[in-house]
Amino acid sequence: MTGLLRYLFFAILVRAVVLVLLGVNLRHRERLPDRGPAILAPNHNSHLDTLVLISLLPLRLLPRIRPAAALDYFLRNRLLAWFALNIIGIIPVSRKPDKKGAHPLEGCVKALERGDILIFFPEGSRGEPERRAGLKSGIAHLAEHYPEVPVIPVFMHGLGKSLPKGEALLVPFFCDIFVGEPLHWSGERSGFMARLEAAIADLEGEGNFPSWH
């Protein structure tokens, strides 16, 4: 039942908002994964990031797409938790050390094991809209665990203008989404993180974005 709700939510509501209200300029669509397991690694500006990314992948993949999201934020009340877990389909990630000693990314590891497509924001949080933040190395942990899973860097611009942190009013702007070549684990954490960061920066360099301050 919630699977059907999730399907309708993404097939109708999200697509209408993304295609009609916002409008997407997608570059290198062919680099998007057509099956799992895979990790999408975009920069993070807005709550819309996840919704727009999911709507770019074919609907048949929807049951496989799982965004990783902060447990303390999205599970803070029952209604939001129901929506986040069942409709958006998040994998909750704890940002604080777990009492039971479980690894915070255990849910993500399991998802990749199942062959899911994981959306994982390496910046950790939305931060300042339209400003890239430093990457956290959790994603390297996943890549190391599953060296055969491709990590696909993505650069997104514009959604932070439409709906930045702390705002509830959506203002339409076209958003640009540039997909990079898949990366693989290279055997060393800091080298991998540097390559991912450089890949996202290179994608940003492909565009010509007006200033927004």
């Binding site: 409008g23 514009g158 705002e167 009013l169 203002v171 702007f173 076209f174 010509n208 007006p210 927004w212």
Partner: protein
């Protein structure tokens, strides 16, 4: 709203446009077969986008008047959104931009009412006075003049100017009994776009002398004058079918529209050059963005509207 009935002349004219489109597709097909080595990908995409645009435009124009207004309002929305995504904006102005978007349904509501007085002053007067006030209330003064000027120019171009096209639809049918408002819209849009193509083709065939190389290096006097001559012939042939224009007036309009369309085109080119982009967007493969397609219309629509309103309504 008065009742809506599509006049046979309008159907015929749309049929003619589709014939032209078939011809264009056939020529592209022949070119591809004659020179298999050459890449006609962009030309092919361009024609394909024309098919989609003209099918949508025909549906938007023919099904009902309400739908026509919604269709044109949506084009204004796309154009304004593309413009606001292209230019530098201030974070503080997010809410002001939201108000700017709201002017679109309001402006088209005046049109649906047929309230000319409000339609013609709403954006140039009321919105012009309101938006700076809204910006002042937010209180960010850095780049204020730039922000308020760029926003109003965008609204005048993408909403006010373009909406003249829609007001043609609500002018009294009796003054143009054979084709009505839809005939006027078709005449204006066809001539504007046909002239864009004609200027391009004449420029490719004969172009030597550049007009304004600093803004638009591909524009030549040969293309410009060839476009005017072609458009005058087309206007002369089409006006008796679709408009109440007399012979002299149809020739005058046939000369005014290509000149105005040219100016609209290079004005948007100057904006793109200022920003540092080649195309305004990527909505229409082979054409660029929506502003790249409607640039000429932002000049031809108000000029044609006031010409015909002054002499015939």
């Amino acid at each position: 709203m008065r009742e809506w009935a599509v006049k046979p002349q309008v159907m015929l004219a749309i049929g003619g446009v589709f014939l032209l489109l078939l011809l264009a597709s056939f020529i592209v097909y022949l070119l591809g077969r004659r020179n298999p080595g050459k890449d006609y990908g962009e030309l092919r995409q361009r024609v394909k986008s024309w098919w989609i645009m003209i099918i949508l435009f025909s549906l938007g124009l023919l099904l009902s008047r309400k739908l026509s207004l919604v269709f044109f309002a949506f084009i204004s929305f796309l154009a304004l959104k593309e413009y606001l995504s292209l230019i530098p904006t201030r974070r503080a102005d997010r809410r002001v931009l939201f108000w700017a978007y709201l002017t679109i349904p309001v402006q088209f509501y005046w049109i649906a009412l047929g309230w000319y007085g409000m339609f013609i002053i709403f954006i140039p007067v009321y919105v012009f006075l309101f938006l700076p006030m809204r910006m002042v209330m937010i209180g960010e003064t850095r780049d204020f003049l730039h922000a308020v000027g760029a926003l109003h120019w965008g609204l005048m171009t993408t909403v006010f100017s373009l909406s003249h096209l829609s007001f043609l639809l609500v002018l009294p049918e009796a003054n143009n009994p054979q084709a009505g408002g839809a005939g006027l819209v078709l005449f204006l849009v066809f001539l504007t776009e046909f002239n864009d193509v004609a200027q391009y083709v004449w420029g490719k065939l004969l172009g030597r002398h550049k007009i304004i190389p600093k803004v638009s290096p591909n524009k030549t006097w040969e293309g410009f004058l060839g476009g005017i001559a072609t458009s005058m012939i087309a206007a002369y042939g089409l006006a008796p079918w679709l408009t109440p224009l007399s012979l002299e007036h149809s020739l005058a309009v046939g000369a005014i529209l290509p000149a105005a369309g040219f100016i609209g085109d290079v004005v948007i080119s100057a904006v793109k050059r200022d920003i540092g982009v080649k195309d305004s967007g990527s909505l229409l493969p082979g054409h660029g963005g929506i502003l790249d397609r409607i640039d000429s219309l932002t000049y031809t629509a108000p000029l044609f509207f006031h010409f015909i309103r002054y002499f015939y309504y």
